[in-house]
Amino acid sequence: MSAAAEAAPRPTKKRGLPPWKSVLAYVILVPGAILFVAPLVWMISASFQPVGDMFSWPPQWIPDNPNLEGYKLFFGIVPEGELAGRASRAAIGVERWFINSAIVATGITLLQLLFNSLAAYVFAKRQFPGRDLIFLLFLATMMVPATVTLIPNYLVLKHIPLFGGNDIWGIGGHGMLDSYYGLILPNAVSAFGIFLLRQYMQTIPDELLDAARIDGASEFKIFWKVVIPLCRPALAAMFIFTFTFAWEDFLWPLIITSNPDLYTAPLGLALFTTRNRTSWDMLMAGSVIATLPMVLIFMIFQRQFIRGISLSGLKG
């Protein structure tokens, strides 16, 4: 947790507040904080409770009969016989959702890091006619809310030629719907990411690149060996934003996947609640597990995260 301490606001010069002021601050902050974490604490507690206890009044904050049933069901380490009468895990394939989420989020993140930084490099460091105009066009159109491009993109993916059973005219099959490509590709570049990296790259002195050029380095080598290492802080911030966004994304996977084998974690969990016989213990266990990667990333990258927020357009 040292990262948290370091990321703390710069200490004010005067040490400490008058006692009555501190007390007042705590009187507001402590109950507020308790209310804020309570739903999450309850989620964790519920994930260790037998289904019957989850519905009990008064609610059990510390499980009376703690068990790992939900997690066991989740990971499929319960003998098939015990599953009788409950939604069969095999039919749901829950651990699959998390693998899918990991694949999709990693794919989107890696592609974005690569494509965004390539584009950002061109916009920041290469001269060519119309560059700034193209950049502006990029920025303007990509700020178009995702809502607008939802339906056309769905239709485009459905009709990708020679893919997923489609003929050369893009008709007949389901195209890139229900595929990792469909989940990843439309999210593989972002205007925000390009913008962020471009701003950062502009602070790299041109002399550095020229020196490399004189040494005979190719353009790609300059990009890869000089620019990228210097951009590490910005890339780290982008990594966090992109990965968390991709992990949480709900609407796009909802629209383009109908095959349960391709559900991502949020989609699987959400559709799970609408089933008739929800295994609530398993659902709560799944919710905890879906939250864990986000918490871990936040803990590990806390400093970069705060930094990313200050990078992302707050310099008045």
Binding site: T12, P59, T141, L314
Partner: protein
């Protein structure tokens, strides 16, 4: 060329998509029907007459108009408190930020449970403290459903505005405060004349980003209410989703989506200006 991969994806999924969505609004485009006839402005005419569309716009404004200022103000208050030299600041910061890093779907599921009329924790504690005398059915009550969704969204959003404000507070030069103190300005005067103006860029940023985000509210609605009861929580994007992917009316759904785009245009333009000012 370095630009190529980004540019191809951008051309297909943004440029082409934009042109295509406009094209779709002039057509009756059902997935099931082979015929996709050109219908001119019919979709737009239908949209103006559509009672549900009007309701969904009202709901979306209601949701955004309440959730954005609430999350921003709470975030500001917490950031101001946490900017003081207090012990255990990082504990509080983590506590208030945790909801923001919880996946939205998970939050919505947990809150759906909390709101449940029969075994939800809200009813339990409110009944116990005698604040209410009958259990409330939060999400299925036509007057409570939207406020319930708003409350959950504010809970999830406060952390973000807190972090943005904390970053903004650090950008205000310490000298300004020193100078003000020398001039005899009290704490309130310093807050009003230095801190709040200094936080203006953060505030503008937060408002624009949150408005754009919240106007496209979908996940909470899908998980918690499905637009009910009696369309009291049907938001524009949820209506788009229903029209497109439950009734397969791609043409009409595109028209609704396009209308949402127009509603957002002012804020998108503001966002673009924010970014451009930095590039200049």
């Amino acid at each position: 060329m370095f630009l190529a991969p980004g540019f191809v994806i951008f051309s297909v999924f943004t440029l082409f998509a934009l042109a295509f969505v406009v094209y779709l609004t002039f057509h009756e485009w059902s997935i099931i029907e082979p015929e996709k006839p050109f219908v001119g402005l019919q979709n737009y005419r239908d949209l103006i007459e559509d009672e549900r569309f009007r309701q969904s716009v009202i709901n979306t404004f209601y949701f955004t108009g309440a959730s954005v200022p609430l999350a921003t103000l709470c975030g500001l208050a917490i950031a101001l408190l946490l900017n003081q030299p207090l012990r255990g600041r990082w504990v509080f910061r983590t506590a208030y930020y945790l909801p923001a890093i919880t996946p939205f779907v998970v939050s919505a599921i947990v809150w759906k449970w909390l709101y449940n009329g029969d075994f939800g924790l809200f009813n339990y504690y409110l009944l116990k403290t005698n604040l209410i005398h009958e259990p409330l059915s939060w999400l299925s009550d036509k007057n409570l459903a939207m406020p319930s969704v708003i409350l959950m969204t504010v809970w999830a959003g406060v952390g973000f505005s807190m972090v943005v404000y904390l970053a903004g507070l650090q950008a205000i030069p310490e000298e300004l405060y020193e100078a003000a103190k020398v001039d005899g300005a009290g704490p309130l005067a310093r807050l009003r004349h230095i801190t709040l103006p200094g936080l203006l860029p953060s505030t503008v940023f937060l408002l624009v980003i949150q408005i754009i985000f919240n106007m496209q509210i979908f996940t909470q609605i899908f998980v918690m209410t499905r637009g009910g009861p009696i369309d009291k929580t049907t938001t524009v994007l949820f209506y788009v989703y229903e029209a497109a992917f439950q009734f397969y009316e791609m043409g009409y759904a595109s028209t609704i989506a396009f209308a949402l785009f127009l509603l957002l245009l002012v804020f998108t333009a503001l966002q673009l200006r924010m970014y451009r000012r930095q590039t200049a």
